[in-house]
């Protein structure tokens, strides 16, 4: 029996979207925190 491909297609797109967004946000947050720490250490 041939499976309906759409649930698989939607699952693939959802997983990739969520993972790429989370990876981008974590990388951005790590960058902001580290650059803020440099600024604070300069002012201290």
């Amino acid at each position: 029996m041939r499976l309906d491909p759409w649930p698989f297609v939607i699952a693939a797109y959802a997983i990739v979207s969520v993972v790429v967004v989370v990876l981008s946000l974590l990388s951005w947050r790590a960058m902001r925190r580290a650059e803020d720490a440099v600024e604070e250490s300069r002012q201290a």
Binding site: R2, L23, S24, S27, M31, A34
Partner: protein, 241 residues
């Protein structure tokens, strides 16, 4: 080569990376979203695979970047071993996490594609197993970087590991030629493709989009590592004074 050496200066690199990061990120996101939308709605189903073929617009760029990430990591490791540029070490370390995530996503999207197409989630064949090995090699590299940092190492051991890991890349690339496999053979090359252009065209957008997103994420992680090193050096100087 002179330009590469000039860019290896962290201050010069940061002057370029700061404005480049948001440009790469937003352009990459726009291209990836457009390519994904076009792949879902603007192309015909494949005559054999039906609508399952739409996973190609994610799976192929992600697989290329999972392998391309290790190529970049190996080049940076080589540059660090030969020229001792600290920026090369930072670049290799910054590539590892997104490379591992993309290698993992390649396995997941491939598995999801395999179920309706091959009738199975997983098969221990050459292509799938060698890609799984690359994912584990990324994890091992990250563990090695952490262990090397904890014992105050100079980064040479992770760099040598980064170079040694390149042995997997030709195995992944030619696994579909060397062994019988469920995975299809090479259908997209630099010069030609066996896939009709009516199905293929959104792939160029997702490929460009995910590549730019990957580059933006690497730049963010390089900036984070450089800033952390700078803050730590400043704290040490203050503590010593």
């Amino acid at each position: 080569m002179t330009a590469v050496h000039a860019l290896a200066n962290p201050a010069r690199f940061l002057r370029l990376a700061r404005p480049l990061t948001p440009v790469l990120f937003w352009l990459g996101l726009a291209l990836a979203v457009f390519g994904g939308w076009a792949g879902l709605t603007q192309t015909p189903p494949d005559y054999l695979q039906g609508d399952a073929v739409r996973i190609i617009y994610l799976h192929v760029p992600i697989a290329w970047l999972g392998m391309g990430g290790w190529t970049g990591l190996a080049i940076a490791s080589f540059a660090y071993l030969v020229w001792r540029h600290p920026l090369a070490r930072v670049a290799a370390q910054a590539i590892a996490m997104p490379g591992a995530v993309f290698a993992g996503l390649c396995l997941v999207t491939g598995s999801i594609w395999g179920r309706p197409t091959w009738g199975t989630w997983w098969q221990w064949d050459g292509r799938l197993t060698s890609m799984l090995l690359l994912f584990f090699v990324y994890l091992a590299y990250m563990a090695l970087v952490r262990a090397d940092g904890d014992r105050g190492g100079d980064g040479r051991i992770p760099a040598i590991f980064g170079l040694a890991g390149t042995v997997l890349l030709p195995i992944i690339r030619y696994s579909v030629v060397w062994w019988n496999t469920l995975h299809q053979g090479q259908s997209i090359g630099l010069a030609s493709s066996t896939i009709a252009m009516s199905i293929l065209w959104p792939l160029f957008y997702t490929l460009a989009g995910f590549t730019l997103l990957f580059a933006a994420i690497v730049l963010m992680r390089m900036r984070a590592l450089l800033a952390a090193a700078k803050a730590e050096a400043r704290m040490r100087r203050k503590a010593a004074a």
